[in-house]
């Protein structure tokens, strides 16, 4: 009995220690954003560095107005749409590929390293190579066609490797059991495999979304006549950088936290219902 209590106490201490470490870690990775939050309320005459010249919501209001250089709102919308599509395709392709890689097949090594190449090829040159090719054929590049193409090339290896981690030492006894009972492949996948790998699929999709939303170099020659958000921000830096960018960053951070909160609520409700 005493031994059991000691173990509990120790476990609690370990857990507290790790929790503190997690909080420190969060402070570390949010580090540069603290200044961003503060400076998004910079006064009208201030800029993107300290000192604060007053306090205002001027730059937040600017967020909704047309920008002078580029097209912040349009670019944001385009980047979000693109990232969402990339997310879905990445999740889908990664799952399919990882399912296939559960057993050795001819050319699997070649395919594995080809997928990895998407991670390695420098973005500007991939963009140049594809742009040259498209010009030869006479297809104009656009963010939703060629842009989408290279974004998936970039995000797929991430999603794929995540799914590889999921299927690593995957316990297939349940699937076997279902098959033994006469279930077809699709049914086995839907009823057994999918629920087990769903967190992995979500993670693969999230990697896809995140990396696409942030992607700059690959899009340079392939977004066509409309800029994605990173291209637009890059262009706006040929002038004074305004705290509007910080307002945008703060807004997307708040929005992300709202989404996570929503996720917790939805998950709780669904989980309860399934029980």
């Amino acid at each position: 009995m005493a031994r059991w209590t000691r173990r509990r106490t120790k476990a609690l201490a370990v857990k507290t220690g790790f929790s503190v470490y997690y909080v420190l870690f969060i402070i570390f990775i949010f580090g540069p954003m603290i200044a961003m939050f503060a400076l998004s309320f910079q006064g009208r005459r201030g800029g993107t560095s300290f000192p604060m010249r007053g306090f205002s919501t001027y730059w937040w209001e600017k967020l909704l107005e047309p920008s002078s250089i580029g097209d912040l709102q349009g670019a944001l919308a385009r980047s979000l749409i693109l990232a969402l599509v990339v997310m879905v395709i990445t999740a889908l392709f990664s799952t399919m590929l990882a399912m296939a890689f559960r057993r050795k097949f001819r050319g699997s090594n070649l395919l594995f390293y080809t997928i990895m190449l998407g991670l390695m090829v420098p973005g500007v040159l991939l963009s140049l190579g594809l742009a040259t090719l498209m010009r030869q054929i006479g297809i104009p590049p656009a963010w939703w066609s060629s842009g989408l193409g290279v974004h998936v090339v970039w995000t797929l290896p991430f999603g794929f490797l995540v799914m590889m981690a999921v299927f690593n030492r995957f316990d297939s006894s349940l699937e076997e059991a279902a098959r033994d009972m006469g279930a077809g492949e699709w049914t086995v996948f839907r009823e057994i495999t999918l629920p087990l790998i769903l967190p992995g699929i979500v993670a693969a999709g999230l990697f896809g979304f995140t990396l696409s939303y942030d992607e700059f170099a690959r899009t340079t020659l392939l977004s066509g006549e409309y800029n994605t958000l990173p291209l637009d921000i890059n262009a706006s830096m040929t002038q004074r950088i305004r705290p509007t960018l910080f307002a945008l960053g703060t807004a997307s951070t708040i929005f992300s936290f709202c989404l996570i909160g929503l996720f917790i609520v939805v998950y709780t409700i669904l989980y309860r219902r399934s029980r």
Binding site: R44, R45, G46, G47, T48, S49, F50, P51, R53, L64, E65, P66, S67, S68, I69, G70, D71, L72, Q73, G74, A77, R78, I81, V124, S127, L128, A131, T132, R135, P140, P141, A142, W144, T220, L221, G224, E225, Y226, N227, L231, D232, N234, A235, S236, M237, T238, Q239, R240, I241
Partner: protein, 427 residues
Amino acid sequence: MTMPRKPTLHEMKTGLSRRRFVLTTAGAAAAGTMTGAPAIVYGAESIRTIGLGVSIINEIQSKASKDTGDRIRGQALGYGAMIGKMLNQNDQYEVAEGYFNDMDLMIPAKVWQPIDTKRIKNWDKVSNLTKTGRLTAGSSLGQGDAPFRHLWLNKDGSRASGPTQYISMLPGWHNADSIGYNPEETGRKIESWAELFSPDFKGKVALVNAPQIGTMDAAMAVEAMGLMKFGNKGDMTRAEIDQLVNFLIKKKKEGHFRAFWETFGQSVNLMVSGEVAIQSMWSPAVTAVKAEGVPCIYAAPKEGMRGWHGGCAISAKVTGKQLDAAYEYLNWWLDGWAGAFVARQGYYMSVWSNVKDHLSQEEWDFWYLGKPAAKELSDPFGTPIVKKGEVRDGGSYEARFKNIAVWNSLMKENDYLVKRWTEFLSA
């Protein structure tokens, strides 16, 4: 009344940029949807123009659309992206708002078509700065890629040695760069490029992180210090590059440089945040620093400034009615409104006589003549940036441009220069 419906792919492609209208003037836009009338009536032709945020500014292109009746859409890009697109995708734009120092890439690549000066209404009014290289008779000729060295073409697009009917690019906005400094940090007036390497400012110096321009600023400084003599700073020999870069490496190892900046915004932030006391800088960046309440002076070094010149070119792919529309846009740039717009940011225009008509007397006196501001002046977006009584650093337009030491250039030894610059940065 029309019911809201799902946009088609085509509408998504073209219409997303219009979303900002919806966001801001939601009421008005809703009314527009109801009546089915578009907010702006565009002409038959659609012109896509690409360039940097210096000239691709929504206010400029939408005013041009209104005045010409064509639909002119700008796409602002970063420098690298811009060069890549100009060279490799001339079917993706009609007008390129480029820079004369990149002509050594653009002319051989034949991505642009020669511009017929007969079709440029104000051609006679374009100043001699670009035609002969001398703004006034007594001006000195700058070294390097001065516009007049890359301006004249034959009808087939090959280079011509002297004035012809055809030009590579219609000269537009330009400026002269030098050093920006914070007088409170330096404690003295800066009047020479040599100060860039003064041991007094060790650890508080920044250079622009572009091998082509950074080395030129360094060359100005080293020459001013009497350490080196260059045959042509705009086209250095390997030996000159070696000697210069070796000096830079020595300085870097001493910890002389705080940082190397890559964008306009970075240079502003470096100065505002007090990271550097003195750095190579662009004139509007100095204005931006001052607007944020930090003292900053734009030096007028006795050795002269480093000039650069932008303009509008037409893609080789443009023909027919679209070509007419492109010419119309080019002509519009010289009409004066755009010149006045960029003047309020500190840039000059090749046809300054027309600019004068679109500036107030106080603005003209301050921006072009270098006189004290008679009243508070604003930038083109309405933010006050010049206090009453302030004088523009570097003096009048004439004073700046009659003494351009060197123009931004792409040297013949560029590949070697980039290589040595790589070595410098990693040292």
